[in-house]
Symmetry: none
Subunit: 155 residues, 2 copies
DNA sequence: TATCGGCCCATGCTATCCCATTGAGTACAT
DNA sequence: ATGTACTCAATGGGATAGCATGGGCCGATA
């Protein structure tokens, strides 16, 4: 399996390091990522982490915006500005920078969440709250579908 | 037979392991699954367990959505993040993680329920209660039908 | 010189391997 | 029908390997 799946919570040690889950590391290796890019997710307090393809994805997203409007510029600044990238040490750990802590609220523990082609880093408590919201939205979607709305509709 | 059918209740040992029913294991083998994937069911305290095809089905569904809208993101979060791998050991057992226990309420025993292309894991008492609810709903539906209401209605 | 990042090793926990035991079901012979 | 031997599944437990974690050391940098 070469996709980022399932989730795990690991502790940050006194030096500010945290182990990337072994399964994620093997995916990273299998996909041939030399290093990892961590980007601030646009509307949630999480980091999106992945290989170079992650940047492409974000750029596609930004390209949807009108280049004359400020939004596109803001997004570009947000995504590329600082664009921290993460080095795995020999034990498969990364250092959690202030950049990451500020955006996510991470302090002593990191929740790693597989998202298929990339993974996310969350503050565990915030992840839990967000997960509950997601389930609620999906349930509502399902109820709408069963009331005769077309199943493939996103709105 | 290559479908998951019938049900069984097995005990969790002191190490947190539980045997997957032999019949289910033979289905897993027949379908050529290397490992199993367990997903938290949306509106019930059960795990949906299946092979990679279960994941493929969900991913195909996600592909129908606009990748930059919230619905696609929610679905991916649910499918990729809200699940976990289950590795069968050499004796056909899996370890019941806290991740599973939290969602299902499982403590010392697991009820395995065949659902055709996948199977479910329940806390036995909750399964019993849920089964009663299902029967009640079906009974009500039938009564309504005999009173002239349309039988296929979901309300 | 003080700090930080990277390298290496130690430790403890848990998942996994491997083997033993138990018990239920089945076939077969008397 | 009944007893016996066989098979296979579930369960228990010792041994081990992999992984998360903690901490020491060193070299680069400011």
């Amino acid at each position: 399996m070469d996709r980022f799946l399932s989730s795990a919570i690991n502790k940050i040690d006194t030096k500010g390091r945290v182990s990337v889950p072994a399964h994620f590391r093997s995916v990273v290796q299998k996909r041939g990522f030399a290093d990892l890019y961590a980007l601030r997710a646009l509307d949630i307090p999480a980091m999106d982490v992945g290989g170079p393809d992650l940047l492409d994805r974000y750029e596609q997203r930004i390209a949807l915006e009108d280049p004359f409007l400020q939004t596109a510029d803001d997004m570009s600044f947000f995504v590329h500005g600082d664009g921290s990238f993460l080095k795995l040490d020999q034990d498969g750990r990364i250092t959690v920078s202030d950049f990451i802590r500020e955006h996510t609220g991470i302090t002593s523990e990191v929740a790693f969440v597989g998202r298929g082609l990339f993974f996310q880093m969350w503050e565990p408590e915030r992840l839990r709250a967000y997960g509950a919201q997601v389930r609620e939205r999906l349930l509502k979607l399902r109820q709408q579908a069963s009331q005769g709305r077309p199943a493939a509709s996103s709105e």
